[in-house]
């Protein structure tokens, strides 16, 4: 394993921001994995740290294929992590909305440029992503549909679902989108949590990434199949929104199969405790997302269901 400072930014009052990469194997740039780009992506950083432990073991046993270099960047924006902010603390900009970056531009554009310059040229790219909505997800892999990456590659992760997302205008400045434009086959791995560590989901993510590396010949250690990945469009996932604001009481869990009319949750009046709304499944399917914050506003997506 080689530990390298990939990009460094001076701060007026703090130590330099040194974005650190961990490299395994040598030769062709095979795969790069990027963890936390936002200050609350603790789980995403944790997954990378677990992955580094696994790769160290594999390297020791010569189970990384010849002519394959693997790079892991566990945490890009630890500046924000250390002070409890999600975005770049000075101007609240999101590094993952600044790609491909610009070396003469604003601070987060420069960070994105510095990072992107070392991430180019890899055959595969994986980002440990988080979602802007508060909630827990079923561990899954997502592909931003640019037409540049073969969607059948999602099956090589062996997660229960591979999701294809049609990019929106604001997606065009993300790492994942630009990676693909610059000819890296890029995927996002979503785990169950963001601000907190979920051990089980982290392990699922680590296994999925290692399985992908095995299936693409980057490592030689066999990682057995888990699921026959079902590939679906994000647009086909049904969203259930709250009809009222109030206290959100979840009655189900991520990954559970629910039947039509099954009660998924309730919304209570936060002042007198009366039930103001009962949330039911409109159809049977797998619970893919559950809102996880006690307070909820009207029209908030509280459940997402992958329909049978």
């Amino acid at each position: 394993m080689r530990k390298e400072i990939l990009y460094s930014l001076k701060s007026p009052y703090r130590e330099s921001l040194d974005i650190t990469g961990f490299k395994f194997g040598s030769g062709k740039k095979s795969i790069a994995i990027v963890g936390a780009m936002r200050g609350n992506e603790v789980q995403q950083m944790y997954v990378c740290s677990r992955l580094i432990q696994e790769l160290k073991r594999l390297e020791k046993k010569n189970e990384i294929s010849c002519d394959c270099e693997i790079m892991v960047i566990p945490c890009v924006n630890y500046y924000s992590m250390n002070i409890g902010k999600r975005f770049w603390a000075m101007d609240n900009t999101d590094i993952n909305r600044m790609f491909p970056g610009y070396d003469l531009g604003e601070t987060t554009q420069r960070i994105a440029d510095g990072l992107f310059s070392v991430l180019q040229g890899y055959e595969y790219g994986i980002q440990l992503a988080s979602f802007y909505q508060q909630g827990n997800f079923l561990t899954h892999v997502k592909l931003m549909e640019t037409g540049l990456t073969d969607s059948s590659l999602l099956k090589l992760f062996g997660t229960s679902f591979g999701i294809i997302r049609t990019p929106r205008p604001y997606d065009t400045t993300t790492l994942n989108y630009n990676w693909q434009i610059w000819e890296t086959k890029a995927f996002s791995v979503y785990t169950n949590s963001t601000d907190t560590i979920n051990e089980k989901s982290a392990q699922e993510a680590v296994s999925a990434i290692l399985r992908f590396m095995y299936n693409t010949g980057i490592i030689t250690k066999t990682i057995h199949a888990a699921y026959a990945t079902e590939i679906i469009s994000e647009n086909s996932i049904e969203q259930i929104r709250s009809e009222d604001g109030g206290l959100f009481m979840n009655k189900t869990e991520v990954g559970k199969h629910v039947e039509e009319n099954e009660i998924l949750g309730e919304i209570l009046n936060p002042l007198d405790g009366e039930t103001v709304s009962v949330i039911k499944a409109n159809f049977s399917g797998i619970v893919y997302f559950v809102y996880n914050t006690p307070l909820i506003n009207e029209n908030t997506v509280c459940f997402k269901i992958i329909r049978d």
């Binding site: 001076k10 007026p12 003469l104 604003e106 604001g245 506003n297 009207e298 997506v301």
Partner: protein, 319 residues
């Protein structure tokens, strides 16, 4: 008359209510919309909204048509000094046109678009953020320039910036409305979290002048100033290459020559000058840093170049 544009229940005992003041008089079907407060830290439009409502109410006989004033499209943001939408980590100006079947914010954005659509002109008033101060200017993307520049000239601003369109800006209120055929002008002026009275009065005069040109206003107006217009990306960006405190030596509105000293990035710990900052082209400084702490990359100034030679517009064009 104050009306509710859209509402949504918040978690505890409160309703998010987007309001507008619809002032009508006469028989004309002409309508303009003045919207502001998409970004909760941009307050210049608040005083403009008051100036317009106050003046039109006091001179209602001069109005022939409808003026819809939306002072706070993001009321929770303004109330909490939050640029985006509190709790959502989202810039509201990246959610338009929204969706009738979407999340709370998407349904709110969709309702706002529906309410404004069909107006003769919409003016979306922004301030800069807390870091930069801007002279009163209108920003127009290249594809809409031919249609919008004539109206922009009526608004009494100092500068019209015609910039390259960016895919990411397709989620703005202005793009969404322009796509639906409602001519929408984006004004940027002043600095975040403050009110610059002179700029508000300047734009106030411009709005009345626009209304007069549309045949909606018979009251007194002033001849608008002739704005500088940037075409072909003739804007120079001055970014810091060092970290420290920026202390300017040039002033807002100054005409500078390429290489002129416009400020320094200083190190308060060592007493050293980390970077001597110079102009990147001949021209007028129309953006200047207001907040002194800088990192490498922090925008210090923008210069409207006298010539478009060698200048490529690559900076962030905020809306």
């Amino acid at each position: 008359m104050v009306q509710s544009v859209t509402q949504a229940s918040l978690a505890v005992n409160e309703t998010l209510n987007i309001k507008k003041n619809s002032i009508k008089n006469g028989k004309s079907g002409k309508r303009i919309c003045v919207v502001t407060g998409i970004h909760g830290d941009e307050l210049e439009g608040q005083y403009l909204a008051w100036l317009l409502a106050d003046h039109i109410n006091k001179n209602i006989g001069c109005l022939n048509g409808t003026v819809d004033i939306y002072p706070a499209l993001n009321p929770m943001g303004i109330d909490s000094i939050t640029r985006g939408i509190p709790l959502f980590d989202l810039d509201m100006n990246r959610v338009f046109p929204g969706s009738k079947d979407g999340t709370m914010i998407e349904t709110v954005c969709s309702a706002i678009i529906d309410d404004i659509a069909g107006a003769d002109i919409c003016i979306d008033v922004h301030s800069s953020n807390i870091f930069l101060k801007e002279i009163p200017q209108i920003r127009i993307s290249v594809p809409t320039a031919e249609t919008l520049v004539p109206y922009a000239k009526m608004l009494n601003v100092d500068f019209i910036w015609v910039h390259e369109s960016a895919t990411v800006l397709e989620s703005t209120l202005a793009h969404s409305l322009n796509s639906r055929g409602t001519k929408t002008l984006v004004v940027e002026m002043g600095v975040g979290m403050r009110i610059t009275k002179e700029y508000c009065f300047q734009l106030f005069d411009g709005v009345l002048n626009l209304m007069k040109n549309l045949g909606m206003w018979s009251g007194e107006t002033k001849e608008p100033r002739v704005p500088a217009i940037s075409l072909n990306g003739a804007v120079g960006f001055v970014n810091s290459d060092a970290a420290g405190i920026f202390v300017q030596t040039a002033n807002f509105g100054d005409h500078v020559r390429k290489g002129d000293h416009i400020g320094d990035v200083l190190n308060p710990l060592t007493g050293k000058i980390e970077e001597k900052v110079t102009a990147v082209c001949d021209g007028m400084i129309f953006t200047l840093r207001e907040y002194p702490i800088v990192y490498g990359g922090s925008l210090l100034a923008r210069i409207l170049c006298d010539s478009s030679d060698d200048i490529i517009e690559k900076g962030i064009t905020q809306q």
